[in-house]
């Protein structure tokens, strides 16, 4: 049947079976593969997206139920040119390892701060009860959410990935450019 979704701000119309799970609609019809699937019992939260602004497990929503509603996936939360403060904080605090649970975790954490902009560590842990991570032991995830909360309360601007790439050690002269076939300074070296 025909459904109308607004996904990451863009209206889209899909022809789907009623049994199609929203997670599969996002992944397989719209190629938004940042939404992951990690279980079959609505337990792990890897598939978390925002539905009308609140976090839901997209593996436990039929796409038809979402018709007429707005969905925000990790791809709509932020991107390399404009990271959401939560994405930046997960990066800076090493709040991820394999990355599989991370996208759902970030979406849940965004919703957590919507409900409670200044959560205590215990409130952060309770607020992420719907998301499982097997790599990090949660320590740095809690740290990341705390940092993102502060950044958002302080109105920090968004950064791009390029702004935050690992800091180079200082160098005496510019490194050879990757653009020229034969960079100038290398020409000199050869001479």
């Amino acid at each position: 049947m025909q459904i109308d979704l607004t996904v990451n701000g863009k209206r889209t119309s899909l022809d789907v079976e009623p049994r199609l799970l929203l997670a599969h609609a996002l992944r397989d019809y719209l190629n938004l593969t940042g939404t992951h699937i990690g279980c079959d019992t609505s337990s792990c939260g890897a598939c978390t997206v925002l539905l009308d602004g609140v976090s839901v497990k997209s593996c436990t929503v039929f796409a038809v139920q979402a018709s007429g509603h707005e969905v925000t996936t990790i791809e709509g939360i932020g991107n390399a040119d404009s990271l959401h403060p939560m994405q930046e904080a997960f990066w800076s605090a090493h709040g991820l390892q394999c990355g599989y649970c991370t996208t759902g975790m970030i979406v849940s954490a965004v919703d957590l701060l919507r409900r409670n902009p200044d959560p205590s560590d215990d409130e952060i842990r309770a607020g992420l009860e719907g998301n499982l991570c097997r790599c990090t032991g949660y320590e740095n995830i809690v740290k990341a959410v705390r940092a993102a909360g502060k950044a958002m309360r302080d109105g920090e601007p968004r950064h791009s990935v390029a702004d935050l790439m690992p800091i180079h050690p200082p160098v005496e002269e510019p490194p050879p450019s990757g653009e020229a076939i034969i960079p100038e300074q290398l020409q000199e070296a050869k001479a």
Binding site: R19, L51, V56, F62
Partner: protein, 284 residues
């Protein structure tokens, strides 16, 4: 992970939902938040051929407190209950349960009506709504009928909701001295034991109590002996409360699973009953 095929139809009103239920018979199921039904369909433990989505029916969601009576629309989401200061003041037992239930995403999607109609033996609301002596309004072809919680909850995955009825609202008297205490299953978040207590205080002592326990047996049940024993007890007297809460699960055949035996569940029923009593007596 993948449910069997079904037809999907959205009902715009309660009447339409009832008509659709009649039309499709036993093969049809109502779908609200879907957080009881969809997990079962994904594991193919349920395979209805028609889903009637009632989630968008207007006026079925909301919390109303007036004249000492709390009325909750069946489509009210757990998250709305959990965030309601009115509910916290007037029925902290239900507020506790809504906050303790599932996880944030589940609470954002699941509804009080859906969770109640599912009749899961480890669910929280059956205990809370029995302790609150709630009235369930069921709309059917011939109009509506009202059932008390004792009649609504019948057994394991069994309620009095008829095949062509829609649960529309749940109402109960305000119970400011109430609480829900829960022993969470570490994986499922369901209640290994959950105890709801509603107290009517008589000065410094308990005038009357309603106590209901979930998670232990095949369905939530009232702990009648405990209710009687609590009368006249000072809830700050821990020893007296503990004594009154002994054998809360007496006469109930307990369930065992890989996490907890029936005997342990029964023992924990006593502990959590006492905790719920203490919490219910505390001003929040």
């Amino acid at each position: 992970m993948i449910p069997a095929s079904f037809d999907y139809v959205r009902a715009g009103s309660v009447d339409e939902a009832i008509r659709l239920l009649e039309e499709h018979g036993d093969e049809a199921k109502l779908l609200a938040g879907g957080h009881s039904l969809i997990p079962m369909m994904k594991l193919r433990l349920a395979a209805p051929s028609v889903l009637i989505d009632i989630a968008e029916i207007p006026q079925l969601a909301g919390i109303d407190v007036s004249g000492g009576r709390v009325t909750i629309g069946a489509l009210t989401k757990h998250a709305a209950l959990a965030a309601s200061d009115e509910l916290k003041k007037n029925a902290p037992a239900l507020w506790d349960a809504a906050n303790d239930l599932g996880d944030p995403q589940v609470r954002n999607r699941g509804t009080i009506g859906g969770a109640s109609a599912h009749g899961d033996p480890s669910a929280d609301y059956p205990a809370v709504l029995q302790a609150l002596d709630a009235t369930f309004t069921l709309a059917g072809k011939g109009g509506t009928r009202e059932l008390t919680s004792g009649h609504f909850f019948r057994g394991m995955f069994d309620t009095a909701l008829g095949p062509d009825e829609v649960l529309t609202r749940i109402a109960f008297d305000a119970a400011p001295n109430s609480a829900y205490a829960k022993f969470h299953h570490p994986a499922s978040h369901y209640a290994v034991v959950g105890v709801a207590v509603v107290l009517k205080m008589d000065g410094g002592t308990i005038g009357s109590a309603r106590v209901a326990v979930t998670g232990v047996g095949d369905a939530a049940f009232r702990a009648g002996a405990v209710e009687s024993a609590l009368k006249g007890v000072n809830p700050t007297d821990a020893a007296a409360v503990t004594a009154a809460c002994a054998s809360a699960a007496r006469g109930v055949t307990g369930r065992s699973d890989t996490f907890a035996s029936a005997a342990y569940r029964a023992a924990m029923a006593d502990v959590f009953t006492a905790r719920a009593v203490a919490k219910a007596a505390t001003k929040r």
